[in-house]
Protein backbone atom coordinates (compact mmCIF):
# COMPACT_ATOMS: atom_id res chain seq x y z
CA UNK A 1 0.00 0.00 0.00
CA UNK A 2 2.81 2.37 0.94
CA UNK A 3 4.56 1.49 -2.27
CA UNK A 4 1.40 2.26 -4.14
CA UNK A 5 1.08 5.68 -2.56
CA UNK A 6 4.75 6.36 -3.20
CA UNK A 7 4.14 5.49 -6.83
CA UNK A 8 1.14 7.79 -6.93
CA UNK A 9 3.02 10.71 -5.40
CA UNK A 10 5.87 10.18 -7.79
CA UNK A 11 3.37 10.22 -10.63
CA UNK A 12 1.85 13.48 -9.44
CA UNK A 13 5.28 15.09 -9.18
CA UNK A 14 6.10 13.99 -12.72
CA UNK A 15 2.75 15.29 -13.94
CA UNK A 16 3.27 18.66 -12.32
CA UNK A 17 6.77 19.04 -13.73
CA UNK A 18 5.84 17.95 -17.26
CA UNK A 19 2.61 19.96 -17.47
CA UNK A 20 4.20 23.03 -15.94
CA UNK A 21 7.07 22.81 -18.36
CA UNK A 22 4.75 22.16 -21.30
CA UNK A 23 2.57 25.20 -20.60
CA UNK A 24 5.51 27.45 -19.80
CA UNK A 25 7.21 26.43 -23.02
CA UNK A 26 3.96 26.91 -24.97
CA UNK A 27 3.79 30.50 -23.74
CA UNK A 28 7.39 31.15 -24.65
CA UNK A 29 7.12 29.41 -28.00
CA UNK A 30 4.72 32.18 -28.96
CA UNK A 31 7.48 34.64 -28.17
CA UNK A 32 10.09 32.53 -29.98
CA UNK A 33 7.88 32.24 -33.02
CA UNK A 34 7.09 35.96 -33.19
CA UNK A 35 10.71 36.93 -32.68
CA UNK A 36 12.15 34.37 -35.11
CA UNK A 37 9.52 35.08 -37.75
CA UNK A 38 10.14 38.80 -37.37
CA UNK A 39 13.85 38.28 -37.93
CA UNK A 40 13.14 36.19 -41.02
CA UNK A 41 11.10 39.10 -42.33
CA UNK A 42 13.67 41.71 -41.28
CA UNK A 43 11.51 43.15 -38.49
CA UNK A 44 12.15 43.45 -34.76
CA UNK A 45 9.19 41.53 -33.42
CA UNK A 46 7.87 42.14 -29.91
CA UNK A 47 10.26 44.41 -28.02
CA UNK A 48 8.09 46.58 -25.77
CA UNK A 49 7.12 44.35 -22.84
CA UNK A 50 10.33 43.75 -20.94
CA UNK A 51 13.81 43.33 -22.35
CA UNK A 52 13.68 41.79 -25.84
CA UNK A 53 9.92 41.53 -25.34
CA UNK A 54 10.46 38.67 -22.91
CA UNK A 55 7.41 39.60 -20.86
CA UNK A 56 5.19 39.49 -23.94
CA UNK A 57 3.67 36.05 -23.13
CA UNK A 58 2.60 37.32 -19.70
CA UNK A 59 1.09 40.45 -21.21
CA UNK A 60 -0.76 38.32 -23.76
CA UNK A 61 -2.12 36.02 -21.07
CA UNK A 62 -3.37 38.91 -18.97
CA UNK A 63 -4.98 40.46 -22.00
CA UNK A 64 -6.78 37.26 -22.95
CA UNK A 65 -7.95 36.74 -19.38
CA UNK A 66 -9.47 40.20 -19.19
CA UNK A 67 -11.18 40.17 -22.58
CA UNK A 68 -14.85 39.40 -22.62
CA UNK A 69 -15.63 36.13 -24.29
CA UNK A 70 -18.89 36.07 -26.15
CA UNK A 71 -20.97 33.18 -27.39
CA UNK A 72 -22.54 34.14 -30.70
CA UNK A 73 -26.27 34.12 -31.30
CA UNK A 74 -27.64 30.79 -32.41
CA UNK A 75 -24.45 28.91 -31.62
CA UNK A 76 -24.61 25.44 -30.15
CA UNK A 77 -23.54 26.52 -26.66
CA UNK A 78 -22.39 23.18 -25.30
CA UNK A 79 -20.24 22.24 -28.27
CA UNK A 80 -19.00 25.80 -28.62
CA UNK A 81 -17.59 25.69 -25.09
CA UNK A 82 -16.30 22.15 -25.41
CA UNK A 83 -14.33 22.55 -28.64
CA UNK A 84 -11.36 24.62 -27.39
CA UNK A 85 -10.98 22.31 -24.41
CA UNK A 86 -10.87 19.29 -26.72
CA UNK A 87 -8.12 20.87 -28.82
CA UNK A 88 -6.02 21.83 -25.80
CA UNK A 89 -6.57 18.57 -23.92
CA UNK A 90 -5.78 16.18 -26.75
CA UNK A 91 -2.57 18.05 -27.48
CA UNK A 92 -1.51 17.96 -23.84
CA UNK A 93 -2.41 14.31 -23.27
CA UNK A 94 -0.20 13.10 -26.10
CA UNK A 95 2.81 14.04 -24.02
CA UNK A 96 1.93 11.32 -21.49
CA UNK A 97 3.80 8.64 -23.45
CA UNK A 98 6.91 10.65 -24.39
CA UNK A 99 9.93 9.47 -22.41
CA UNK A 100 12.33 12.21 -21.35
CA UNK A 101 15.13 10.09 -19.97
CA UNK A 102 16.27 6.56 -19.15
CA UNK A 103 15.03 4.74 -16.08
CA UNK A 104 16.51 6.31 -12.98
CA UNK A 105 17.19 4.59 -9.69
CA UNK A 106 16.34 6.66 -6.61
CA UNK A 107 16.72 5.04 -3.17
CA UNK A 108 16.66 1.64 -4.79
CA UNK A 109 13.35 2.41 -6.48
CA UNK A 110 13.11 2.38 -10.22
CA UNK A 111 11.81 5.67 -11.55
CA UNK A 112 10.94 5.62 -15.24
CA UNK A 113 11.29 9.12 -16.69
CA UNK A 114 8.01 9.00 -18.55
CA UNK A 115 4.53 9.73 -17.26
CA UNK A 116 3.21 6.41 -18.37
CA UNK A 117 4.82 3.73 -20.48
CA UNK A 118 1.71 2.44 -22.23
CA UNK A 119 2.37 -0.73 -24.20
CA UNK A 120 0.16 0.74 -26.92
CA UNK A 121 1.81 4.18 -26.78
CA UNK A 122 1.73 4.84 -30.51
CA UNK A 123 -1.93 3.87 -30.83
CA UNK A 124 -2.69 6.18 -27.91
CA UNK A 125 -1.04 9.03 -29.80
CA UNK A 126 -3.04 8.25 -32.95
CA UNK A 127 -6.28 8.06 -31.00
CA UNK A 128 -5.69 11.46 -29.47
CA UNK A 129 -4.65 12.98 -32.74
CA UNK A 130 -7.92 11.70 -34.24
CA UNK A 131 -9.87 13.17 -31.35
CA UNK A 132 -8.20 16.51 -31.99
CA UNK A 133 -10.11 16.70 -35.27
CA UNK A 134 -13.34 16.94 -33.27
CA UNK A 135 -12.19 20.14 -31.61
CA UNK A 136 -11.64 21.82 -34.96
CA UNK A 137 -14.69 20.44 -36.75
CA UNK A 138 -17.11 20.98 -33.88
CA UNK A 139 -15.69 24.40 -33.00
CA UNK A 140 -16.20 25.50 -36.57
CA UNK A 141 -19.66 24.05 -36.85
CA UNK A 142 -20.97 25.12 -33.45
CA UNK A 143 -20.12 28.78 -34.01
CA UNK A 144 -22.92 29.14 -36.55
CA UNK A 145 -20.78 31.45 -38.65
CA UNK A 146 -20.06 30.89 -42.32
CA UNK A 147 -16.33 31.44 -42.00
CA UNK A 148 -16.10 29.09 -39.05
CA UNK A 149 -18.07 26.39 -40.82
CA UNK A 150 -15.82 26.53 -43.87
CA UNK A 151 -12.73 26.46 -41.67
CA UNK A 152 -14.10 23.57 -39.66
CA UNK A 153 -14.91 21.30 -42.58
CA UNK A 154 -11.68 22.16 -44.35
CA UNK A 155 -9.83 21.33 -41.16
CA UNK A 156 -11.63 18.03 -40.72
CA UNK A 157 -11.00 16.87 -44.31
CA UNK A 158 -7.36 17.94 -44.18
CA UNK A 159 -6.60 16.40 -40.82
CA UNK A 160 -8.15 13.00 -41.54
CA UNK A 161 -6.33 12.83 -44.88
CA UNK A 162 -2.95 13.54 -43.38
CA UNK A 163 -3.59 11.30 -40.42
CA UNK A 164 -3.49 8.34 -42.79
CA UNK A 165 -0.06 9.32 -44.07
CA UNK A 166 1.04 9.96 -40.49
CA UNK A 167 -0.06 6.52 -39.37
CA UNK A 168 1.32 4.70 -42.40
CA UNK A 169 4.70 6.36 -42.09
CA UNK A 170 5.08 4.86 -38.62
CA UNK A 171 4.35 1.24 -39.56
CA UNK A 172 8.02 0.69 -40.62
CA UNK A 173 9.12 2.15 -37.28
CA UNK A 174 7.00 -0.43 -35.46
CA UNK A 175 8.49 -3.12 -37.71
CA UNK A 176 12.00 -2.08 -36.69
CA UNK A 177 11.35 -1.55 -33.00
CA UNK A 178 8.93 -4.49 -32.63
CA UNK A 179 6.88 -2.51 -30.12
CA UNK A 180 4.19 0.17 -29.82
CA UNK A 181 5.68 1.44 -26.59
CA UNK A 182 7.45 4.75 -27.16
CA UNK A 183 9.97 3.86 -24.45
CA UNK A 184 10.88 0.69 -26.35
CA UNK A 185 11.14 2.61 -29.60
CA UNK A 186 13.71 4.96 -28.04
CA UNK A 187 15.43 1.91 -26.60
CA UNK A 188 15.62 0.37 -30.09
CA UNK A 189 17.53 3.41 -31.35
CA UNK A 190 20.48 2.66 -29.13
CA UNK A 191 22.93 2.20 -32.00
CA UNK A 192 21.56 4.65 -34.53
CA UNK A 193 18.54 6.98 -34.71
CA UNK A 194 15.79 5.78 -37.04
CA UNK A 195 16.13 8.84 -39.29
CA UNK A 196 19.21 7.15 -40.79
CA UNK A 197 17.38 3.98 -41.78
CA UNK A 198 13.97 5.53 -42.43
CA UNK A 199 14.58 8.87 -44.14
CA UNK A 200 11.44 8.50 -46.29
CA UNK A 201 9.25 7.81 -43.27
CA UNK A 202 10.83 10.82 -41.57
CA UNK A 203 9.97 13.16 -44.44
CA UNK A 204 6.40 11.82 -44.70
CA UNK A 205 5.92 12.10 -40.95
CA UNK A 206 7.33 15.62 -40.85
CA UNK A 207 5.05 16.88 -43.67
CA UNK A 208 1.97 15.18 -42.23
CA UNK A 209 2.79 16.49 -38.78
CA UNK A 210 2.91 20.04 -40.12
CA UNK A 211 -0.43 19.45 -41.85
CA UNK A 212 -1.89 18.06 -38.64
CA UNK A 213 -0.84 21.16 -36.75
CA UNK A 214 -2.61 23.32 -39.39
CA UNK A 215 0.30 25.64 -39.90
CA UNK A 216 1.54 27.34 -43.05
CA UNK A 217 1.82 25.91 -45.72
CA UNK A 218 -1.16 23.83 -44.57
CA UNK A 219 -3.15 26.48 -42.74
CA UNK A 220 -6.24 26.42 -44.95
CA UNK A 221 -8.61 25.85 -42.01
CA UNK A 222 -7.69 29.30 -40.73
CA UNK A 223 -6.53 31.01 -43.90
CA UNK A 224 -6.82 34.56 -42.64
CA UNK A 225 -7.22 36.33 -45.95
CA UNK A 226 -10.21 34.26 -47.04
CA UNK A 227 -11.76 32.96 -43.82
CA UNK A 228 -10.93 35.73 -41.30
CA UNK A 229 -9.65 33.24 -38.72
CA UNK A 230 -11.28 30.05 -39.94
CA UNK A 231 -12.69 27.69 -37.37
CA UNK A 232 -12.01 30.03 -34.43
CA UNK A 233 -13.40 33.22 -35.97
CA UNK A 234 -16.11 33.53 -33.32
CA UNK A 235 -13.93 32.72 -30.36
CA UNK A 236 -12.68 35.49 -28.14
CA UNK A 237 -11.01 35.96 -24.80
CA UNK A 238 -9.77 32.97 -22.91
CA UNK A 239 -11.58 30.47 -25.13
CA UNK A 240 -9.52 31.71 -28.05
CA UNK A 241 -6.56 31.47 -25.71
CA UNK A 242 -7.24 27.76 -25.24
CA UNK A 243 -7.22 27.20 -29.01
CA UNK A 244 -3.98 29.12 -29.15
CA UNK A 245 -2.46 27.15 -26.30
CA UNK A 246 -3.57 23.93 -27.96
CA UNK A 247 -1.81 24.89 -31.16
CA UNK A 248 1.49 25.59 -29.47
CA UNK A 249 1.33 22.54 -27.22
CA UNK A 250 0.58 20.53 -30.34
CA UNK A 251 3.71 21.92 -32.00
CA UNK A 252 5.79 20.81 -29.04
CA UNK A 253 4.21 17.38 -28.98
CA UNK A 254 4.89 16.90 -32.68
CA UNK A 255 8.44 18.03 -32.08
CA UNK A 256 8.70 15.53 -29.25
CA UNK A 257 7.26 12.75 -31.40
CA UNK A 258 9.71 13.45 -34.21
CA UNK A 259 12.47 13.45 -31.60
CA UNK A 260 11.55 10.14 -29.96
CA UNK A 261 10.57 8.28 -33.12
CA UNK A 262 13.30 9.41 -35.49
CA UNK A 263 16.01 11.35 -33.71
CA UNK A 264 16.78 8.94 -30.90
CA UNK A 265 14.75 10.69 -28.19
CA UNK A 266 16.77 11.61 -25.13
CA UNK A 267 19.98 10.04 -26.43
CA UNK A 268 23.02 12.24 -26.91
CA UNK A 269 26.53 12.75 -25.58
CA UNK A 270 27.63 14.89 -22.60
CA UNK A 271 24.39 16.65 -21.70
CA UNK A 272 21.72 15.10 -19.45
CA UNK A 273 18.96 13.21 -21.35
CA UNK A 274 16.04 15.65 -20.75
CA UNK A 275 18.20 18.47 -22.11
CA UNK A 276 18.84 16.51 -25.28
CA UNK A 277 15.15 15.86 -25.75
CA UNK A 278 14.49 19.56 -25.19
CA UNK A 279 17.11 20.55 -27.77
CA UNK A 280 15.64 18.17 -30.34
CA UNK A 281 12.10 19.42 -29.72
CA UNK A 282 13.22 23.03 -30.11
CA UNK A 283 15.09 22.23 -33.32
CA UNK A 284 12.00 20.61 -34.87
CA UNK A 285 9.79 23.50 -33.74
CA UNK A 286 12.24 26.05 -35.12
CA UNK A 287 12.16 24.17 -38.40
CA UNK A 288 8.37 24.44 -38.43
CA UNK A 289 8.57 28.20 -37.79
CA UNK A 290 11.19 28.57 -40.48
CA UNK A 291 8.89 26.74 -42.91
CA UNK A 292 6.15 29.18 -42.01
CA UNK A 293 8.44 32.06 -42.81
CA UNK A 294 9.46 30.57 -46.16
CA UNK A 295 6.57 28.83 -47.88
CA UNK A 296 3.31 30.22 -49.24
CA UNK A 297 -0.01 28.53 -48.53
CA UNK A 298 -1.07 25.61 -50.72
CA UNK A 299 -4.32 25.63 -52.67
CA UNK A 300 -6.90 23.20 -51.33
CA UNK A 301 -6.73 20.76 -54.25
CA UNK A 302 -2.92 20.87 -54.11
CA UNK A 303 -3.11 20.04 -50.44
CA UNK A 304 -5.30 17.02 -51.05
CA UNK A 305 -3.26 15.92 -54.06
CA UNK A 306 -0.08 16.03 -52.02
CA UNK A 307 -1.65 13.95 -49.27
CA UNK A 308 -3.48 11.31 -51.28
CA UNK A 309 -1.44 11.02 -54.47
CA UNK A 310 2.05 11.42 -53.06
CA UNK A 311 2.40 10.84 -49.34
CA UNK A 312 0.05 7.87 -48.88
CA UNK A 313 1.31 5.82 -51.88
CA UNK A 314 4.88 6.65 -50.85
CA UNK A 315 4.18 5.53 -47.29
CA UNK A 316 2.65 2.26 -48.54
CA UNK A 317 5.67 1.66 -50.75
CA UNK A 318 7.93 2.40 -47.81
CA UNK A 319 6.18 -0.26 -45.75
CA UNK A 320 6.72 -2.92 -48.42
CA UNK A 321 10.35 -1.93 -49.03
CA UNK A 322 11.10 -1.89 -45.31
CA UNK A 323 9.38 -5.25 -44.99
CA UNK A 324 11.67 -6.70 -47.64
CA UNK A 325 14.83 -5.08 -46.27
CA UNK A 326 14.15 -6.15 -42.68
CA UNK A 327 14.04 -9.78 -43.78
CA UNK A 328 17.15 -9.87 -45.93
Amino acid sequence: MIMWFAGLILLIVKLAVVLGFLLFLAAYLVWVERKFLARLQIRYGPNRAGRYGLLQPIADTVKMLTKEDTIPDGADKGLFCLAPAVVAMTAMLMFAVVPFGPELSVFGRKVPLVITDLNIGLLFVFALSSLGVYGVALGGWASNSKYSLLGGIRGAAQMISYELALGLSLVPIVMLARSFSVVDIVQAQERYPFILVQPVAFVIFMISAMAESKRIPFDLPEAENELVAGFHTEYSGIRFGLFFLGEYVHMQVLGALVAVLFLGGWRGPFLPPPVWLFIKIILVVLFMIWTRGTLPRLRYDQLMTLGWKMLIPLALLNIVVTGAVVLF
Binding site: L19, K146, V174, L242, G323
Partner: protein
Protein backbone atom coordinates in the same frame (compact mmCIF):
# COMPACT_ATOMS: atom_id res chain seq x y z
CA UNK B 1 -1.87 -2.65 -5.34
CA UNK B 2 0.74 -2.64 -8.09
CA UNK B 3 2.67 0.44 -9.11
CA UNK B 4 3.31 -1.05 -12.51
CA UNK B 5 1.04 -2.67 -15.04
CA UNK B 6 -1.80 -1.71 -17.29
CA UNK B 7 -4.15 -0.41 -14.61
CA UNK B 8 -1.58 1.92 -13.13
CA UNK B 9 -0.64 3.12 -16.63
CA UNK B 10 -4.18 4.17 -17.35
CA UNK B 11 -4.58 5.62 -13.88
CA UNK B 12 -1.72 7.88 -14.89
CA UNK B 13 -3.57 8.85 -18.06
CA UNK B 14 -6.75 9.53 -16.09
CA UNK B 15 -4.85 11.64 -13.58
CA UNK B 16 -3.16 13.53 -16.39
CA UNK B 17 -6.55 14.18 -17.95
CA UNK B 18 -7.88 15.45 -14.63
CA UNK B 19 -4.95 17.81 -14.07
CA UNK B 20 -5.28 18.97 -17.68
CA UNK B 21 -8.98 19.73 -17.16
CA UNK B 22 -8.10 21.75 -14.07
CA UNK B 23 -5.50 23.68 -16.08
CA UNK B 24 -8.15 24.40 -18.71
CA UNK B 25 -11.04 25.25 -16.39
CA UNK B 26 -9.19 27.50 -13.92
CA UNK B 27 -8.44 30.22 -16.51
CA UNK B 28 -12.06 30.06 -17.69
CA UNK B 29 -13.37 30.67 -14.16
CA UNK B 30 -10.71 33.28 -13.47
CA UNK B 31 -11.56 35.09 -16.64
CA UNK B 32 -15.30 35.00 -16.00
CA UNK B 33 -14.65 36.68 -12.64
CA UNK B 34 -12.63 39.60 -13.95
CA UNK B 35 -13.92 40.44 -17.42
CA UNK B 36 -15.99 43.50 -18.11
CA UNK B 37 -19.37 42.78 -19.63
CA UNK B 38 -20.48 44.97 -22.47
CA UNK B 39 -24.08 45.48 -23.50
CA UNK B 40 -25.62 45.98 -26.90
CA UNK B 41 -27.78 44.21 -29.37
CA UNK B 42 -25.07 43.52 -31.94
CA UNK B 43 -22.67 42.05 -29.45
CA UNK B 44 -23.53 38.44 -30.10
CA UNK B 45 -24.00 38.60 -33.83
CA UNK B 46 -21.68 36.32 -35.80
CA UNK B 47 -18.99 38.03 -37.81
CA UNK B 48 -19.68 38.62 -41.45
CA UNK B 49 -17.16 41.27 -42.53
CA UNK B 50 -19.18 44.04 -40.93
CA UNK B 51 -22.39 43.31 -42.81
CA UNK B 52 -25.53 42.33 -41.03
CA UNK B 53 -25.58 38.56 -40.59
CA UNK B 54 -27.75 36.85 -43.16
CA UNK B 55 -29.33 33.60 -42.15
CA UNK B 56 -27.83 30.63 -40.43
CA UNK B 57 -24.48 29.08 -41.31
CA UNK B 58 -25.86 25.59 -41.05
CA UNK B 59 -26.49 25.13 -44.73
CA UNK B 60 -25.38 22.69 -47.40
CA UNK B 61 -21.75 22.66 -48.35
CA UNK B 62 -19.91 20.97 -51.16
CA UNK B 63 -20.04 17.20 -51.14
CA UNK B 64 -16.31 16.89 -51.88
CA UNK B 65 -15.44 17.07 -48.19
CA UNK B 66 -17.89 14.29 -47.45
CA UNK B 67 -16.29 12.00 -50.03
CA UNK B 68 -12.92 12.47 -48.37
CA UNK B 69 -14.50 11.44 -45.09
CA UNK B 70 -15.88 8.32 -46.76
CA UNK B 71 -12.61 7.13 -48.29
CA UNK B 72 -10.88 7.95 -45.04
CA UNK B 73 -13.27 5.65 -43.21
CA UNK B 74 -12.81 2.85 -45.71
CA UNK B 75 -9.05 3.27 -45.68
CA UNK B 76 -8.35 3.94 -42.03
CA UNK B 77 -10.04 0.80 -40.78
CA UNK B 78 -7.81 -1.23 -43.08
CA UNK B 79 -4.69 0.66 -42.13
CA UNK B 80 -5.31 -0.22 -38.49
CA UNK B 81 -4.82 -3.89 -39.39
CA UNK B 82 -1.29 -3.10 -40.52
CA UNK B 83 -0.21 -2.21 -37.00
CA UNK B 84 -0.53 -5.61 -35.33
CA UNK B 85 1.07 -7.09 -38.43
CA UNK B 86 4.04 -4.75 -38.08
CA UNK B 87 4.39 -5.78 -34.44
CA UNK B 88 4.95 -9.48 -35.15
CA UNK B 89 6.51 -8.98 -38.55
CA UNK B 90 9.36 -11.37 -39.31
CA UNK B 91 8.18 -14.36 -37.30
CA UNK B 92 7.65 -16.28 -40.53
CA UNK B 93 9.87 -14.29 -42.91
CA UNK B 94 8.75 -15.25 -46.42
CA UNK B 95 5.08 -15.70 -45.57
CA UNK B 96 4.93 -12.35 -43.77
CA UNK B 97 6.40 -10.46 -46.69
CA UNK B 98 4.04 -12.04 -49.21
CA UNK B 99 1.05 -11.39 -46.99
CA UNK B 100 1.97 -7.75 -46.42
CA UNK B 101 2.48 -7.39 -50.18
CA UNK B 102 -0.97 -8.79 -50.89
CA UNK B 103 -2.59 -6.65 -48.19
CA UNK B 104 -0.90 -3.41 -49.23
CA UNK B 105 -1.63 -4.26 -52.86
CA UNK B 106 -5.35 -4.59 -52.24
CA UNK B 107 -5.29 -1.48 -50.07
CA UNK B 108 -3.61 0.47 -52.86
CA UNK B 109 -6.46 -0.49 -55.17
CA UNK B 110 -8.72 1.71 -53.02
CA UNK B 111 -6.55 4.70 -53.84
CA UNK B 112 -6.25 3.72 -57.49
CA UNK B 113 -10.04 3.43 -57.68
CA UNK B 114 -10.61 6.83 -56.05
CA UNK B 115 -7.89 8.33 -58.24
CA UNK B 116 -9.51 7.04 -61.45
CA UNK B 117 -12.91 8.19 -60.24
CA UNK B 118 -11.46 11.70 -59.95
CA UNK B 119 -12.11 12.06 -56.23
CA UNK B 120 -8.84 13.92 -55.75
CA UNK B 121 -9.61 16.49 -58.47
CA UNK B 122 -11.33 19.51 -57.05
CA UNK B 123 -14.52 19.92 -59.07
CA UNK B 124 -15.84 23.39 -59.58
CA UNK B 125 -19.53 23.83 -59.34
CA UNK B 126 -21.04 24.93 -62.59
Amino acid sequence: MPTQGLLFDFLAVALYLLVGVVFAVVPLILSSLIVKRSMGAKREETYESGMQTIGSAWIQFTVAYYIYALIFLAFDVDVLYLFPVALVYGSYPMRDLVEVLIFVGILSLAIVYAWCKGVFEWQHQK
